[in-house]
Amino acid sequence: MLTKNQIAQRIAKEVKNGQYINLGIGIPTLVANYIPDHLEVVLQSENGLLGIGPFPKEEDIDPDLINAGKQTITMVKGSVLFNSAESFAMIRGGHVHLTILGAMEVSEKGDIANWKIPGKMVKGMGGAMDLVASAENIIVAMQHCSRDGQSKLLAECSLPITGIKCVKKIVTDLAVLEVDPELGFVLKERAPGVSVEEIKAKTAGKLTVEGEVPEMVFE
């Protein structure tokens, strides 16, 4: 089983040179730590910045410079600032190539649920609905099962959904899966030491296994 950092590390392999990327809160934020130095990519913060840098040193903290998670940040060379309408014009217009975000549930059609649990206080969808409706490539970082062992990869989402038919790839603690309109979840890689049988058992939605499924390799 992968740790959260290993999930992030595996997702980082999906990043291509020259991409503009939006990273959600949680595991997706960790992906930034694993993007190889030779790749030139730009991270977008939907509150109005392209070119997120590392967290600031104590003496460089600026309350007027935060990311979408409200954390203090810095800018890199070539950064640009803009307003919220421009930021989502960028997202909606398909200019951000890759969105990586967390999920509570994903369906075999690629629907995603990650914003609301009935009966619990609803905090809001923030920019998630815009992001999943717009990006050409959406990768989800999530745990394969809930704490009580229920699969989160379902035939249909049971929770209120954030977007339909949008998730292209899922990296969980157990596996890498692609979403295909016909084949459902297509198993591409197994976490080290995790069997195809275990993944089958823990995937409630339609799972397609084609040929040998390789184990993930971490350098």
């Binding site: 307003n83 909606r92 206080m121």
Partner: protein, 231 residues
């Protein structure tokens, strides 16, 4: 050049009535109109509807207005960590309308730009789409969303001039410039107010035509929600 200067926050918000629809700039606690919020707290008004991406925290920002029960309804994309907000919501003392952040930004922009409705893919197939018209363009389904306007938009900038032209700093820009034209009256508080001509016309983020009242604020706290540092 037309002079939009008022004395201070007290004068700027003096005529906001109970039941008014307000837009307030800021993302989290960054770029919020601190002086106007303080001045509003001293007014004896209530039943406000507030359009703001977030709802502040318990003891700062819009959270202060909530605590004083001045707010009837919040229109936001994310209401975050705010215990009093949650209590009022569960008690039925407060209404909340949650809108995808990009849709919120575009509805505000449309309100200022004279666009009564537009189509967006955000929220298609979700409960956000309930009761809304959907329509297919070039093989993709979109929702029709309406413009959003307010009686007053209350915003905060870094620098401003007496003609109402504004420059923002960092990510404190966020919703501030797009809310200016969406309010019948836009009140702008700035950290530094200069004479008309003191700002480069080419560097202005929000044209003064959208701003009806401007003043230089003071004592900015600029509270940080998530102080994160690297080693």
């Amino acid at each position: 050049m037309i002079n939009k200067t008022v004395k201070d926050a007290t004068e700027a918000v003096a005529d906001i009535p109970s039941g008014a629809m307000l837009m307030m700039g800021g993302f989290g606690l960054s770029g919020i109109p601190e002086n106007c919020i303080s001045a509003l707290l001293k007014r004896d008004i209530n039943n406000l509807t507030i359009v703001s991406n977030n709802a502040g925290v318990d003891d700062f920002g819009i959270g202060l207005l909530l605590k004083k029960h001045m707010v009837k309804k919040m229109i936001s994309s994310y209401v975050g960590e705010n215990a009093e907000f949650e209590r009022q919501l569960l008690q039925g003392e407060l209404e909340v309308e949650l809108i995808p952040q990009g849709t919120l930004a575009e509805r505000v922009r449309a309100g200022g730009a004279g666009i009564p409705a537009f189509f967006t893919p955000a929220g298609v197939g979700t409960e956000v789409a309930e009761g809304k018209e959907t329509r297919e363009f070039d093989g993709k389904v979109y929702l029709m969303e309406r413009w959003l306007k307010a009686d007053f938009s209350i915003i905060k900038a870094w620098k401003g001039d007496t003609a109402g032209n504004l420059i923002f700093k960092g990510t404190a820009r966020n919703f501030n410039p797009i809310m200016a034209p969406a309010g019948k009256i836009c009140i702008a508080e700035v950290e530094e107010l200069v004479e008309a001509g003191g700002l480069d016309p080419n560097e202005i983020h929000c044209p003064g035509i959208y701003v009806q009242r401007i003043f230089q604020g003071k004592d900015y706290e600029k509270r940080i929600e998530q102080r994160t540092v690297s080693n």
